[in-house]
């Protein structure tokens, strides 16, 4: 991929939260229309539709695999439809699929759709599913592991091995809530949090309290991606993909590549630097740090690697308020999983869609004024991988062509 070869020109999103009467299909069809309208193109320009397979919902997935989306939204000139998934890293693997299709020349316009409805499942179904998703069914699940206990162990290790305090971890929840309060579609956008409230909420898995654990949500979003050439022609403010950098570590946390995880994600160390270098930019050029972490301690581990603070001290940075709305280091401006709600494979997509909105100047009350460049990330599994992406509404050094 050459720098700035592909661009996003429009996004769509529905409210996140508990909407048991709203099917995945309704979500998918709605966000598709919103994204195409936002892009300002005709639906008949869409030549490929890629759906994010969603977690646990077999019937929706089957429909995706069998080509429901292009028919339903009336994409009459669609040539390719497919579903791509890599858990929480799906926003990355989907976009790579899209870039491959665009590079093939078969079409210059691709629509990406995500929809999730967790509220159709019982609490025990969800607990059991996520226990086995975050942990090895043979080696971990018989010990009563849950996704929260996995994140709790990672948090405990991070607190043990860095100067970070549990109050600083709680301050991440407060900051993410402040951002979510500015988002009309966020699940948690009505009540402010305080560090005390977070610390005093019910203990779920020490050291994580209830308000440090994300909540599963129904929701969905979509975006339209095209070639840079077409983007410049049809869109006033396209958002260009400037670079990516990726690494995979493990399935089971016990097999993590880097043994000293003072930050498990942070152990992926110099990954963000590689993304910066490939974009020809540095951390000082970033206007926003769109971190996908799902748990507040993991937000700190990612922030530790972004070149804005010494590793292990990002807790101090967040607690100082500098990552809040109006601060010099905005993070996760839609509140991420903790604020938007956790939509399974969709968290990374919602972070990506928010990244695009910010760079298009369409982020409403959450808008970071004059944002030009940002770095965003996603990752899946039990912290199995990490992908950093630098986006911009201009291409440093101009276009290669």
């Amino acid at each position: 991929m050459a720098k700035g070869e592909f661009a996003v020109i429009g996004t769509g999103e529905v409210p996140y939260g508990s909407y048991p009467d709203r099917s995945e299909f309704e979500i998918a069809y709605r966000v598709a229309k919103l994204a195409i309208e936002d892009a300002g193109i005709d639906k008949d320009e869409v030549g490929a539709v890629i759906g994010a397979a969603h977690i646990m919902g077999d019937s929706y997935n089957t429909e995706l695999f069998f080509g429901r989306l292009p028919e339903a939204i009336g994409a009459r000139n669609c040539k390719i439809t497919a579903s791509t998934i890599s858990g929480g890293a799906s926003s990355f693997s989907i976009r790579k699929t899209v870039e491959g299709i665009l590079a093939s020349g078969e079409t210059d316009t691709v629509l990406v759709v995500h929809a999730q409805r967790f509220s159709q499942f019982s609490v025990n179904q969800l607990a059991t599913y996520f226990a086995a998703a975050g942990s090895d069914p043979e080696w971990d699940v018989p010990y009563g592991m849950t996704y929260n206990s996995l994140a709790a162990m990672v948090t405990q290790a991070y607190l043990d091995r860095t100067p970070t305090t549990i109050e600083e971890v709680a301050s991440v929840c407060v900051t993410l809530r402040k951002w979510a309060m500015l988002q009309p579609n966020a699940m948690f956008n009505s009540k402010e949090l305080t560090v005390e409230k977070v610390l005093n909420s019910k203990m779920v898995a020490y050291p994580l309290t209830n308000l440090m654990c994300n909540v599963l949500a129904d929701g969905g979003c979509a975006y339209v991606m095209t070639t840079a050439e077409k983007a410049r022609r049809v869109c006033q403010k396209p958002v260009y993909v400037l670079s990516d950098a990726s690494d995979y570590s493990h399935r089971s946390i016990t097999s993590a590549k880097v043994k000293d995880f003072s930050g498990i994600v942070g152990s992926l160390g110099t990954l963000a630097n590689r993304a910066y270098e490939r974009a020809g930019l540095g951390p000082e050029d970033m206007d926003i740090f769109e971190i996908y972490a799902s748990y507040p301690s993991v937000t700190l581990m990612v922030l530790d690697t972004l070149g804005v603070t010494e590793p292990g001290t990002s807790g101090q940075l967040v607690a100082s308020g500098k990552c809040d709305p109006g601060g010099p280091f905005p993070i996760s401006t839609n509140g991420e999983a903790m604020g938007m709600g956790h939509t399974g494979t969709g968290v990374g997509l919602s972070v990506f869609v928010e990244s695009v909105r910010q760079l298009q100047g369409k982020a409403g009350r959450a808008q970071v004024e004059g944002a030009r460049f940002l770095i965003e990330n996603c990752g899946g599994g039990a912290f199995m991988d990490c992908h950093f992406t630098v986006l911009g509404n201009e291409v440093p050094g101009g276009f290669a062509s």
Binding site: A131, W139, D140, T146, V204, A205, Y206, N210, I253
Partner: protein, 151 residues
């Protein structure tokens, strides 16, 4: 067990809902579970390169060797990371709350997820020395767990 019974009645759960998940061995992991049944902790060592691998896969992750020995482990570990579960666990584990899940590191160089038992939760700390204990969770299966050395 009373907390366990409470949630069962509260939510109208069936007996099947309260059955704890057991290991589902593969052909290449079965010797591990056969040994724990006899209250022995064994690890798989590659005959070609000497690597201990846990969890095991059909061939050695390092050299792709296919010949192995199952070697008696020292039965010691150090606590690498832990969490204390208080809420929102799958229903079969409700009666065990609060319980400790942990990553333990064995001197043989492998890590495992397990429970730390017979311990004061307040006194848990990373680097703590542990020794293996065996929990016969069913007729067929025994889970290796860990407790602080000397307790």
């Amino acid at each position: 067990m009373s907390q366990n019974q409470d949630i069962k009645e509260l939510l109208g759960l069936s007996d099947a809902d309260m059955v704890k998940p057991l290991p589902q061995p593969t052909p290449w992991s079965r010797p591990f579970w056969e040994a724990t049944r006899e209250h022995r902790l064994v690890l798989r060592r590659c005959d070609s390169c000497g690597t201990y691998q846990h969890p095991p896969y059909p061939y050695c992750e390092v050299c792709w060797g296919e010949e192995f020995s199952w070697v008696e482990a020292a039965g010691r570990a150090s606590l690498f990371a832990f969490s204390v579960n208080h809420f929102a666990v799958p229903f079969p584990f409700w009666g065990d709350l609060p319980y400790v899940t942990a990553i333990v590191e064995l001197p043989e160089g492998v890590r495992m997820i397990s429970n730390v038992v017979e311990c004061d939760h307040e006194a848990l700390h990373d680097g703590m020395e542990l020794e293996v204990v065996f929990d016969d969770v069913s007729e067929e299966y025994t889970l290796p767990k860990w407790k602080p050395v000397g307790r």
